[in-house]
Symmetry: C2
Subunit: 345 residues, 2 copies
């Protein structure tokens, strides 16, 4: 990818405050390659917004990405910004279609870094079949930002059979986790601390729209809720469910997949994997009648080999998430109290 | 407004890094009043995104607001973030309907400041009949941001008779400006420099969706282009038109409205009002046959008393914007070269 898209020839090699002026320098920056790289029929209009036709049920989502560092094992802030919003829409049962791209650049950002991020954005869009239809670029003075913040907002069409709502969750529903916990958070944390592991731990950033769409095709309204346990981790997501539904959740420690090297890193860093952020992971709360088939389908997915039924919804202990250990012990799992790891996404 | 919406009781009076955790503190911040203040049927779901039904031609836009200072005469970053995206949609011929709200807060931001901005956001939404349907809150460390950056992205329904496109512009079209130039930019600049004027100059931030919709009702496809001359000012907007259409534009200096005190401030600051940013202002490029009626309707609008036909599209000097002075002189007006005033919006 990078070989095919060298950094365009420019008169400047870092971002300066004039690139946010809306004038000639902004124009130079965008026309130097950004418009061409991300080109599509909507963006090419270069209007204040994009115009298109939509019919039916639509989902809309937004996220600003402030992850630090901006490059890490397995991805960059560019991938994250595209995949993250695609995934927020997928959790609504929607297939992302159009995204907006809002950049806040810090004066002094290297053009090579910006270009690499834009290439990641382009690749992530292509991989998921989404288009960036309009955008905005601002520049802030040195020390008033941190290299680059990216907002992506998106809309997508909701699957005709999707009926994803907390209110559908009921006693006996199964909770499925699509893969192993804590990879993204541990990657960012170890990258910041300069830690080396025997094997390379990489972020799990990836788009979930296709697998979610396939599951909705097959299981439709039997899927009661989808959530991606990002900031705050699995524990926080499950607590949001128990708070909103007033039901309880039992999870089984041994059934929660955590890769060995990630578990080791968590121990070393003093982190509980239940609270560590994930990116390309989702939980599904589903009707128990489909649980085995759903799990089998998820396991057949490229990234689903460690998918697992991790627990069950129960009326027995309302508003509580209870973790049951192998040896019969149990403890209540609360949501993340403070900040485990700032700027994870 | 403020009297009716006191700052909710909180255990904290500044933002700390934990408010971006996605855990308990984020929850406290949002549930302390944000969700209640901005409440609507979509936001109340507290999902990763909002779901609604749309049919037909839709416009979508995004902008990140990084204005400094965050409070200024006539408004705040909150008003700006709502009105600005409403106006970008209006320039597409669309009436804003749903907005997303992405906050990047700097550690240490005072809760009273955040709350005042949120009240401005709420008031601006109510004034225009738009809803914030989903949002995102991030916190960055002290010195890695600047109090608050706000992204708003929005969608709106395009007027059935709107056909706004550079390609519709032709020789002889009239160019109308909706009001006096340079108020927003001068307000920000004088606020930063601590300048006092005899009369108070205030930002022209305001929503343009209703007036634009009324004009589209009446003039439809006779309106060839709408643009709001924000960053880079009128000169840059007109140059974008001549670049894209390959036509020329003549503007008449005496017909361009600039209020006396604003003109004086521009002189004092060494700024050309043609390059100073505006917020609640638009230009319309329209068929000459409707020019007088269009102007009369615009003048009848609450903020339109200084609206004026400022020029004409011409094939005589392709790709050039020419300013003709009272005494017969003329000069070519180029787009803004560097950065006149960073972080105006």
């Amino acid at each position: 990818m990078i070989l095919n898209c060298p950094l365009p020839k420019l008169d400047f090699d870092t971002i300066n405050i004039g690139h946010g002026s809306g004038g000639t320098l902004t124009d130079q920056l965008l026309n130097a390659g950004v418009f061409k790289l991300l080109s599509n029929e909507y963006l090419d209009k270069k209007h204040d917004g994009a115009i298109f036709t939509l019919n039916g049920k639509i989902a809309m989502s937004t996220d600003t990405y402030v992850v630090s560092p901006i490059f890490f094992e397995g991805g960059s802030i560019g991938d994250l910004a595209i995949n993250g919003t695609i995934n927020d829409l997928a959790m609504c049962g929607a297939n992302a279609k159009f995204l907006t791209l809002g950049l806040v650049l810090e004066e002094g950002l290297k053009m090579t870094e910006l270009w690499e991020i834009l290439l990641n954005i382009k690749a992530a869009c292509d991989a998921s079949g989404v288009k960036i239809v309009t955008g905005d670029t601002k520049v802030v003075e040195r020390g008033k930002g941190d290299k680059i913040f990216i907002n992506t907002s998106g809309i997508g069409e909701v699957h005709p059979r999707a009926n994803i709502d907390m209110l559908n969750i009921k006693d006996g529903d199964k909770i499925i986790l699509s893969g192993p916990l804590a990879r993204h958070g541990i990657t960012i944390m170890s990258s910041r601390q300069g830690l080396q592991f025997e094997t390379t731990i990489a972020s799990d950033t990836r788009p979930l729209n296709n697998i979610v769409w396939q599951l909705l095709d097959k299981y439709g309204e039997y899927i009661h809720l989808l959530r991606d346990p990002t900031r705050g981790g699995l524990a926080t997501t499950l607590n949001e469910i128990t708070t909103d539904t007033k039901l309880g959740i039992d999870i089984i420690q041994n059934d929660i997949p955590v890769e060995e090297e990630v578990y080791g890193a968590c121990e070393m860093l003093g982190l509980d994997p239940l609270y560590v952020a994930n990116e390309g992971l989702f939980i599904a709360v589903i009707d128990k009648s489909i649980a085995d088939d759903f799990l089998a389908d998820l396991k057949a997915w490229e990234y689903g080999n460690l998918a697992s039924i991790i627990g069950v919804v129960t009326a027995a202990h309302p508003k509580q998430v209870v973790l049951r250990s192998t040896i019969g012990g149990q403890r209540v799992i609360n949501r993340l109290a403070g900040e485990q790891l700032p700027r994870i996404c």
